[in-house]
């Protein structure tokens, strides 16, 4: 009852004391003075709620009045924009341009939050979620945030795609754009013209999916079924995709195989061939993406292959099956679902990849880059960007759905997990050789790529002039002594510091929302849990470019005007990286016996206390993982934020892409190398810190450190 009183008071304070909107007046005063009469219903909705709290317990009334309050804020928010009525119908109805109001401010935010908590109280009183206010509140909050920052922007794309660029409703234009030749054309099959971007995208994604899956499988077979040193390989391949900014591989390929690339020059001089631009286009994109995504496939396949109990293979061999037969009849069918999973993951990643096609695509466009050029290019066609985003989103979500269906139903991994004893069957000879054929070129190329990045920044111009120099490093990261003492004069400092700041701000939110979501998914049961899980994991499948476009469309104008602020970048980070926290949390929670929570509950601790005192201390590995990975991923992200950066908030990756774009490769490489090394250092430090004092190391809890595997795919 005490908690009731406190919670009931919050909205009053929020309304009474917090500035809302530009004129720093509280909403209550604005409403009462009569300047903005549409705020009055906000107050009115609160009256029955308060009565429901103070008076006899009326949970239903409480819920409905709070819902009404939020609904009204949404209606008036969209109805009245800063240039007048939000809907033409309203303007014609009233015959005037209508009143104006600026975007919502802190007061409104706290108010909505408080109303949400009131709803939670009301619902809990009616026995929802076993009457647990904290669970209902957390659930509503997470769902609300996801709706606001994932669903609503996605819907904005749809609405924008349906309009022409002046905002009018134009379904025929939409249809023309959606089914038009630029997207679906098949000209390349018949002549020299380019095919539609959709086909380009699907083609690249399919090739990349097949190639990475096979190379990943080859790697996994070598690692698990031969005497190849496995630990360093796994460690190496599992950190690569995390610490590498996505464009780095494309960049390195240009420096190696571009028209004036190191290898190109060398080969041309050796064989007297003309230098060509063969790397630009589908070849380059495919190559870059295969290099980039193979580690992920490898990690998936390692997990799948480990899930095949050796006792099964041993059984097959005692039944007179040879090595080939064992592989063909036992191992292969068991890992097939895993292969499909790896393929679909690579497929989604490839479609979503923006930076490599941007770097190395030449005239070959894929959906992700096409969207970007539609927004920033000379045409500046937001409607087209929205249509393209819609197509891309449909592709990735379909693949995502397929992947979940596969993993959900067809995964045999962990079947017979107890039979871990026994030796896995040796690899058939032919397969052994084949695996090496797949793996060795990959390793060589990868070494070349990272070597180029590490070395390339310290020579004048790699390939052409290999004189060592610190010039690029100085340009980017010089520190000078001036009148005011030491200051950072390098051109890269500004963006580096901004990036770290925003990533640091986003980090705790990402981890918190991810872990809380994981806890809700794993430990609570409520109606609609499956859809909730889908919503939460969906942002994994939304390509960054689509997020970028959708954020521009959704948050450029009131009621939520956020573009141009650092906040929107932080929000984009938080919701894009949320699945990382969820996966880490789920993996860790599954190792903590449920009876611990139940014991705590039966001892009289409420769910919040249980979460804080029992679960969180044991979830430390997951929390650390979520924090670190969300930070690192935020620092290396490009696609979503390239739409959101401003002069004031320049980010490291975007800066590098910009430098590379104007041909200033020296600085771009040096900066990339610095980023990679920094990220690697951070991971190492954390690994050491967590590894030494692993909180769940005691046998009773069994909560081990979370491996990158858990992050890639649950």
């Amino acid at each position: 009852m005490v908690a009731w009183g406190a919670l009931a008071l919050v909205p009053w304070y929020a309304l009474g004391g917090m500035p809302r909107g530009v004129p720093a007046w509280p909403a209550a005063m604005q409403a009462l003075v009569g300047e903005r009469p549409w705020l009055i219903p906000v107050l009115l909705a609160l009256l029955p709620a308060t009565w429901a709290v103070i008076g006899p317990a009326r949970p239903r009334l409480l819920v409905w009045s709070a819902v009404a309050g939020i609904a009204w804020i949404a209606v008036e928010g969209f109805g009245i924009l800063h240039h007048g009525w939000g809907f033409e119908a309203l303007a014609t109805l009233t015959g005037s341009p209508g009143p104006t109001q600026p975007g919502l401010g802190w007061g409104a935010m706290i108010h909505v939050l408080a109303l949400t908590m009131l709803i939670a109280h009301g619902l809990a009183r009616q026995g929802v979620c076993r009457g647990d206010v904290f669970v209902v509140g957390a659930l509503l909050l997470v769902v609300g945030l996801i709706v606001l920052f994932v669903i609503y922007p996605a819907l904005c794309i749809l609405s924008s795609a349906l309009r022409d660029n002046d905002g009018g409703f134009a379904p025929t234009l939409f249809a023309a754009k959606l089914f038009g030749r630029p997207i679906w054309g098949l000209d390349c099959l018949f002549g020299p013209q380019a095919c539609g971007t959709a086909w380009n995208t699907v083609a690249v994604a399919s090739i990349v999916g097949v190639a990475t899956t096979l190379i990943g499988l080859a790697f996994a077979l070598l690692a698990l079924r031969t005497r190849m040193p496995m630990k360093p390989l796994v460690a190496f391949l599992s950190v690569l995709p995390i610490i590498t900014p996505p464009f780095v591989i494309g960049l390195a390929l240009i420096l190696l195989f571009g028209r004036s690339g190191a290898v190109t020059i060398w080969v041309a001089d050796l064989l007297h061939l003309p230098r060509t631009r063969w790397i630009y286009g589908i070849t380059g994109i495919t190559l870059a993406q295969v290099l980039a995504f193979t580690p992920i496939s490898f990690l998936v396949m390692i997990g799948v292959l480990q899930g095949v109990a050796p006792s099964l293979e041993e059984a097959a061999q005692t039944l007179r099956a040879g090595r080939w037969r064992t592989f063909r009849t036992i191992t292969w069918p068991l890992i097939r679902p895993g292969l499909a999973n790896a393929f679909l993951i690579a497929f989604i990643e490839s479609m979503a990849d923006f930076a490599n096609p941007l770097m190395i695509g030449g005239n070959f466009t894929v959906l992700a880059t096409d969207i970007f050029f539609a927004v920033v290019g000379t045409t500046h066609d937001q409607g087209r960007a929205a249509v393209l985003a819609l197509v891309l989103l449909t592709f990735t979500l379909t693949a995502f759905q397929a992947q979940r269906a596969w993993v959900g139903r067809r995964s045999y991994a962990t079947m017979g997990g107890k039979g871990a004893a026994g030796r896995a069957a040796a690899l058939p000879g032919g397969l052994h050789v084949l695996s090496y054929v797949a793996v060795v070129p990959y390793l060589l190329l990868t070494i070349a790529v990272y070597g180029t990045i590490m070395v390339g920044g310290f020579v004048v111009s790699i390939g052409r002039d290999n004189t060592p120099t610190l010039r690029h490093l100085m340009t980017a990261f010089s520190v000078e002594h001036g009148v005011g003492g030491w200051f950072l004069s390098g051109s890269a400092w500004n963006s580096l510091i901004t990036t770290f700041e925003i990533a640091l701000i986003a980090m705790p939110f990402t981890a918190a929302i991810g872990i809380v979501t994981a806890w809700l998914l794993d430990r609570q049961r409520f109606a609609g849990q499956k859809s909730f899980e889908f919503l939460a994991m969906m942002s994994f499948a939304i390509p960054g470019t689509v997020v970028g476009v959708s954020y521009i469309l959704a948050f450029n104008v009131p009621p939520l005007a956020l573009t141009g602020t650092g906040a929107i970048i932080a929000i984009a980070f938080a919701f894009r990286n949320m699945p990382v926290g969820i996966r880490a949390g789920l993996a860790n929670l599954s190792q903590i016996d449920r009876s611990l929570d139940e014991a705590s509950l039966t001892l009289g601790a409420r769910s919040f206390r249980t979460l804080r005192l029992v679960i969180l201390p044991m979830l430390r590995p997951a929390v650390t993982t979520a924090l670190v990975y969300s930070f690192v991923r935020a620092v290396t992200a490009v696609s979503a934020v390239i739409f959101l950066v401003t002069g004031e908030y320049q980010l490291a990756t975007v800066y590098i892409v910009g430098r590379a774009d104007v041909g200033d490769y020296g600085v771009a490489i040096v900066y990339s190398a610095v980023l990679i090394v920094l990220m690697l250092l951070i991971l190492l430090v954390i690994q050491l810190a967590v590894g030494v004092k692993r909180p769940g190391a005691r046998p009773a809890s069994g909560a081990g450190a979370v491996t990158p595997m858990a992050i890639v795919q649950g």
Binding site: S595, L601, T602, G604, L613, M618, R698
Partner: protein, 353 residues
């Protein structure tokens, strides 16, 4: 005085599985009641419903006379000892025992005092600073018990608390639990599927089968007057043989079994066909052919168990009877012909279902 726990027509379903089917039961204050039954019959489900870890699909649950059906686990006056003990691995023994007190708002010094007290009571004084992982299985079990009883709950729930202990320790710890329960006059509900354990410590036993309560009574009553074939077989071994009730006479019935005409309490059975539960030690074997007052059989198998002999005796080449004989000095060899007589104490009439 209200019952400590009461179920009124409680039904619990998990999807298509009915785990409890319209169960009604009462548990009196200060008693130790055991839930006994085969795996999957719904024992754990009963405990979890009382604890508030699950909610019933139908029916009401009362604790101390109060309807708690919709109340959260943390709001119920119960505590539970888990099969896995569920000790918090990152807290010391003392912190574990204090946990519930602190959650209930007891001040820290007072909580520590009470916890230390209870730990001493279960024989763990001096172990306060250890982590659960630094204790033996039996010690962990006692910490779990201390953690539960320190809250002085209305009902104490035990879900197979001894199944992780070895046979010797089980016997000792079950006596300790019984002593503690009686000296503190706690109400306890105890789940087990070990019938020896149930018989040894319970005031009352609820035998469950297939989501229902098969029989409810004192250990003695269950053993001597099983209400059904299932209960007779489950509590102690029993040979169930078909019989004919010839006529009733007050509380007794005249029962025909082969050559015997027995006079036994009828427990509500009607004249006509019925069943008879014969405990293995109620059959007395003698070597040699049967006379008019005994039944002829042949030893099919014999096993020496140190304290007694176990025999399978086939009668008329079809029915196999299980017999326990204390005579280990001159055992009967397989194939020997025997004459069997009945000791009336170990025989009970079962109503036809």
């Amino acid at each position: 005085m209200p019952h400590a726990v009461e179920f009124q027509g409680v039904t619990k379903r998990y999807g298509a599985v009915t785990a409890l089917d319209a169960i009604s039961l009462q548990i009196e204050r200060g008693t130790l009641v055991t839930l006994l039954g085969p795996s999957g019959c719904g024992k754990t489900t009963v405990l979890r419903l009382i604890a508030g870890l699950e909610q019933p699909n139908q029916g009401r649950i009362l604790i101390g006379g109060e309807d708690v059906t919709l109340r959260a686990a943390s709001e119920r006056n119960i505590s539970m000892v888990f099969q896995s003990y569920a000790l918090f691995p990152h807290m010391t023994v003392l912190e574990n025992v204090c946990y519930g007190l602190r959650a209930g708002g007891v001040k820290k010094p007072r909580a520590i005092e009470m916890a230390t007290d209870k730990l001493a009571q279960v024989g763990l004084a001096g172990y306060e600073g250890r982590l659960p992982s630094e204790l033996s299985g039996g010690q962990q079990q006692r910490v779990a018990v201390a953690r539960a009883i320190v809250l002085e709950p209305e009902v104490l729930l035990f879900d197979e608390p001894l199944s992780n202990l070895d046979a010797k320790l089980r016997r000792r710890v079950r006596e300790e639990i019984r002593d503690l329960q009686q000296s503190l006059s706690l109400t306890a509900l105890y789940v087990t599927h070990d019938q020896q354990e149930a018989l040894a410590i319970s005031d009352r036993i609820l035998v469950m089968n297939m989501a229902r309560i098969a029989q409810d009574g004192t250990p003695r009553r269950l053993y001597e007057q099983p209400a059904s074939h299932f209960v007779a077989d489950f509590i102690g071994d029993a040979n169930i043989v078909p019989v004919e009730i010839v006529r009733l006479d007050g509380a007794t019935a005249e029962v025909r079994l082969g050559p015997f005409l027995l006079t036994l309490p009828h427990h509500g059975a009607e004249p006509g066909p019925a069943e008879l539960a014969i405990r293995p030690q109620a059959l007395i074997l003698a070597a040699g052919p049967a006379d008019g007052k005994s039944l002829s059989g042949r030893i099919a198998r014999a096993a020496y168990l140190g304290s007694h002999m176990e025999y399978w005796v086939s009668v008329a080449g079809e029915i196999d009877l299980f017999v326990v004989s204390p005579d280990v000095v001159s055992p009967l060899p397989p194939g020997a012909e025997v004459a069997m007589t009945l000791a009336p104490a170990g025989v009970a009439v079962i109503r036809r279902q």
